[in-house]
Assembly symmetry: C2
Homo-oligomer: 214 residues x 2
DNA sequence: GGCAACACTGTACAGTGTGCAATATCGAAC
DNA sequence: GTTCGATATTGCACACTGTACAGTGTTGCC
């Protein structure tokens, strides 16, 4: 194994790790591009193709970094299984909302990185400890992933750089015609808060209730 | 109102409706671009800016068209509130998976079109009929939207042009090391089916259970 | 008929990801 | 120690993308 100990040719000036790290740094402020990362590294764009097959590979690596940044250890500890899931979910939501376009990355490629697998394993453990069968635990795991990523992505689209408060206030100010949409008008004060962590926790809670009842 | 009955200047050769319609046609096969739609209409790309402020406006319009194509009337009728939600949700999922990149459109702009409002109103009615308060009905409505869009987007990323069967088979073939990820390995036969309608219905069912319990 | 508003075009710019051929650099074999 | 082949990096180029700006010609109104 690892027969390629030394190879001819010039030394590599970079590493895949380094590229992904620079992309993460660059991520505060703008969604990273091949050319942007290369510029930051003081290198021509093509150079990156020595380390990555294409842009999708960079995105996959970023996805896995983001999952790790949310701290999968939150899924461990002595708290109840629900608390642990909620804590990691909220942490991941925060991580995804901090960087513009972060949530959207999860939709360009399948999640098969090592951290994705780790998080999956731990979620399975939690649902199993809650009494679910292996099959149901798997389904519940995916349901939670879908909720966190879907929620974060939609909220990221609505925020678009603004703060949560600004968006809620802007939505509050919208006038709904009670003739056309009576129920929407009646519930609008709640609907205006769809992009808040309160809403996030409410729906996650409902989802976990439904999963636990299986 | 509508004081602009007639205006000077040449007749318009197109309409916003027409642009959105050709974009939808073009959508089978490739994700529509300003230049692509213009070419299909036999017109320079800039011409579209007479009718639309920017690409985001086109995407918003497409989102609303997709919501309508899923047939919001499925939310009406005599079936139980759960059946009606499940039927529309599955229909929307199918619509979004039929066109590549359709699901991703929902993440570029807020959903505030007329059909989005209509669907929201009808979901509120269903949850209200299920006994939820206006506030809880609003939260449950968003939870369902998040699930449908999140699930469709993740599945679209995994499918990437392939059929559901192909993806499931490819995932089944993956070998998970039971030493590293015992639970993942044990539940993998189910995990391989995450992108199926069966999984979609399972998690939607769980979510609705949790919402109804409020 | 002149005026002002308007639709549309030509051209252009600043981006994006990425393929290809040339160049420079190294390790290993002779 | 020289040659050879593998390799990293570059310059250049291509095919895209959205969209800004300055014409150019058509039209309704006074």
């Amino acid at each position: 194994m690892e027969e390629k100990t030394t190879r001819p040719g010039p030394k590599r000036s970079l590493s895949a790790e380094q590229i992904v790290t620079t992309a993460m740094d660059l991520f505060d402020g703008e969604t990273p591009s091949i050319r942007g990362v290369a510029a930051r590294l003081g290198v021509r764009p093509n150079t990156l193709y020595t380390y990555l097959p294409d842009r999708a590979a960079l995105e996959r690596a970023l996805v896995d970094r983001l999952l790790a940044e949310a701290d999968p250890d939150l899924l461990l500890g002595r708290r109840s299984w629900r608390r642990r899931i909620e804590d990691y979910a909220c942490s991941l939501r925060t991580v995804l909302l901090r960087r513009r376009g972060a949530a959207a990355l999860f939709h360009s490629a399948p999640m098969d990185g090592p951290n994705a697998m780790l998080v999956g394993e731990r979620l399975l453990a939690l649902f199993t400890s809650a009494g679910l069968s292996p099959s149901d635990a798997s389904r519940a795991t995916y349901a939670v992933i879908v909720h966190v990523l879907g929620s974060a992505t939609l909220t990221a689209a609505d925020l678009d750089g603004h703060t949560e408060e600004e968006v809620v206030a802007a939505r509050q100010a919208v006038q709904i015609d009670p003739e056309l949409l009576p129920l929407t008008a009646a519930a609008w004060s709640t609907t205006a808060t769809w992009n808040t962590e309160t809403q996030f926790r409410w729906s996650l809670h409902a989802l976990l209730d439904g999963c636990a009842a299986r």
